[in-house]
């Protein structure tokens, strides 16, 4: 469960990215976050896994006030959250396989478990034959799928996907969204920032619309509609 209470965020350079956002994403929900470029979608996502702290207001994840977390507790928060970063953030000196395996090693998974689950997850995103490639040797869409594999490999309680289909063709995009919906059906809360109008319109899930840092619409079975 993710709760935002009157959250505002200004970046150190003075940019006000979010203004008084209040919203609750219940456990097990699938929600889209949409809005024009620079609306604050990525900022909202960053607040959840505490890459950044709100300037005012509170963010709770599974009942925990994220801002109040001791630094030493932050890694443990993040282990329950899978993130597909908008810019992928793959480790450049690790292969696709190693990148996914790294996320499992972080949570202390056994080598056996890793050897079993990493290939299965790469299969799921259609990257089995790219396991040995370094990020620089992957196409844009392949990198994006590797980032997705890393985000889901630990079966996180919460999955944050920031523009996870921006570099994918419509068919692959649709497959990936099906995958996310499937993961959501198994109980994971999913928050997906996206520009893919076709997908949002087809999925008929909750849509939170941001504009210039304000929450301007929040519909249960919404569509993209500008």
């Amino acid at each position: 469960m993710i709760e935002f209470y009157d959250v505002s965020k200004s970046y150190p350079n003075g940019t006000a990215a979010l203004h008084g956002i209040t919203a609750t994403i219940p456990k097990g929900e699938f929600a889209f976050v949409v809005g024009p470029s620079g609306a604050g979608k990525s900022t909202l996502v960053r607040l959840v896994y505490r890459e950044t702290l709100p300037t005012s207001g509170y963010v709770f994840v599974n009942g925990v006030n994220v801002s109040k977390l001791r630094p030493a507790a932050v890694p443990y928060l993040r282990r329950n959250i899978g993130v597909v970063f908008q810019d992928f953030k793959l480790l450049p000196r690790k292969t696709a396989y190693e990148n996914v395996a790294f996320a499992m090693r972080v949570v202390g998974a056994s080598p056996k478990e890793i050897a079993r689950r990493v290939p299965a997850t790469l299969e799921l995103v259609g990257l089995v034959d790219k396991g040995e490639a370094y990020p620089a040797e992957l196409s844009g869409g392949e990198q994006q799928r590797a980032a997705l594999a890393r985000a889901i490999v630990n079966h996180p309680l919460v999955l944050l996907a920031d523009e996870p289909t921006g570099n994918l063709d419509p068919a692959t995009s649709w497959e990936i969204v099906q995958l996310l919906l499937e993961i959501n059906r198994r109980g994971t809360t999913v928050l997906m920032a996206t520009h893919a109008k076709a997908i949002v319109d087809a999925a008929r899930r909750r849509v939170i619309t941001l504009d210039h840092g304000r929450l301007v619409r929040d519909r249960q079975r919404g569509d993209y509609s500008q």
Partner: protein
């Protein structure tokens, strides 16, 4: 994470950062080599100073006509004085012979003196160091049978500040060198860590704890340090062996410290320093990126 896993991680990382690893290892090697050369020089200067100091003596001129037993008693008393290491008896005949030799071409001055040798029997007294000489001289002056006490007052007064200056200067220099070397090494490691700030921040975002990030980088720093140190140690060993050889051939009277136990000790010291500073440099540079 098991130790083998961390070690594997570190080794892979060294290889995949080949260029950076090469640059930092060679820097470590070169700066530790210089430190080693410097330490070897310092050890040898120290050795030389000790040798020179060991040749300083107090001369006790004895009353004429002491018999064998009195002589032995006196020698025992002198040997018992604090700071005394050795006592050698010199008869007045030996003393005259030595003087004649020292005068060299002007020995003709002593012509005709032989029969009426004006010199006295004496003890040459060696001490634990130049600092003891005045003390021993004063104590010996009070002993029965000692008529007069002589020592190279002027030489000692010149030598003592000189050797202590060499000691002090050497210590300051060695200290400077050690600090500088450690600084350069840890700074080099810091540069390789800075270059990876992006990777480190990604690891944190994926949920890695500080120690999960730190261990492999700590080990990597230690590996780079150790490798560089090993190269430096081998280089220093070879260079020193060559230099000692050269000194023996060219200026054999200069006392040098023999290669072997020294080279081993130095090698161990360097490897220890390299590993510790490499690891420490790694961990300290990481502070900036962790805990934020």
């Amino acid at each position: 994470m098991g130790v083998r896993m961390i070690l594997g991680e570190a080794l892979v990382s060294v290889r995949r950062n080949a260029l950076m690893s090469l640059a930092s290892t060679t820097t470590v090697a070169v700066s530790l080599f210089i430190l080693a050369v410097f330490l070897l020089a310092a050890v040898n200067v120290d050795h030389m100073v000790k040798t020179i100091e060991g040749e300083l003596e107090v001369r006790l001129y004895l009353s004429a006509g002491l018999d064998e037993a009195a002589l032995e008693d006196l020698r025992a008393l002198v040997e018992a004085l604090e700071g005394v290491t050795e006592v050698i008896y010199v008869s007045k005949e030996e003393a005259l012979a030595t003087l004649r030799q020292q005068l060299g071409p002007r020995a003709d001055l002593l012509e005709g003196i032989d029969e009426m040798n004006p010199l006295r029997d004496s003890f040459r007294v060696f001490t634990q160091g130049p600092a003891w000489i005045e003390h021993v001289a004063a104590a010996a002056a009070g002993l029965g049978g000692v008529e007069d006490v002589g020592y190279q007052r002027e030489l000692i007064q010149r030598l003592l500040p000189l050797t202590s200056a060499i000691h002090f200067g050497g210590l300051v220099l060695v200290g400077l060198m050690v600090i500088a070397t450690l600084f350069v090494i840890s700074n080099t490691v810091r540069l390789t860590i800075l270059a990876r700030s992006e990777e480190i921040s990604i690891m944190k975002l994926v949920g890695a704890t500080d120690w999960f990030i730190r261990w492999p980088l700590l080990l990597e720093g230690m590996l780079l340090g150790l490798l560089g140190a090993a190269i430096a140690a081998i280089g220093a060993w070879q260079a020193y062996a060559w230099a000692v050889n050269g000194v023996y051939r060219a200026v054999s009277f200069i006392p040098v410290v023999p290669v072997l136990p020294l080279a081993w000790r130095l090698g161990l010291l360097l490897c220890g320093l390299g590993a510790v500073i490499g690891g420490l440099g790694s961990v300290l540079s990481l502070r900036r990126f962790l805990r934020t």
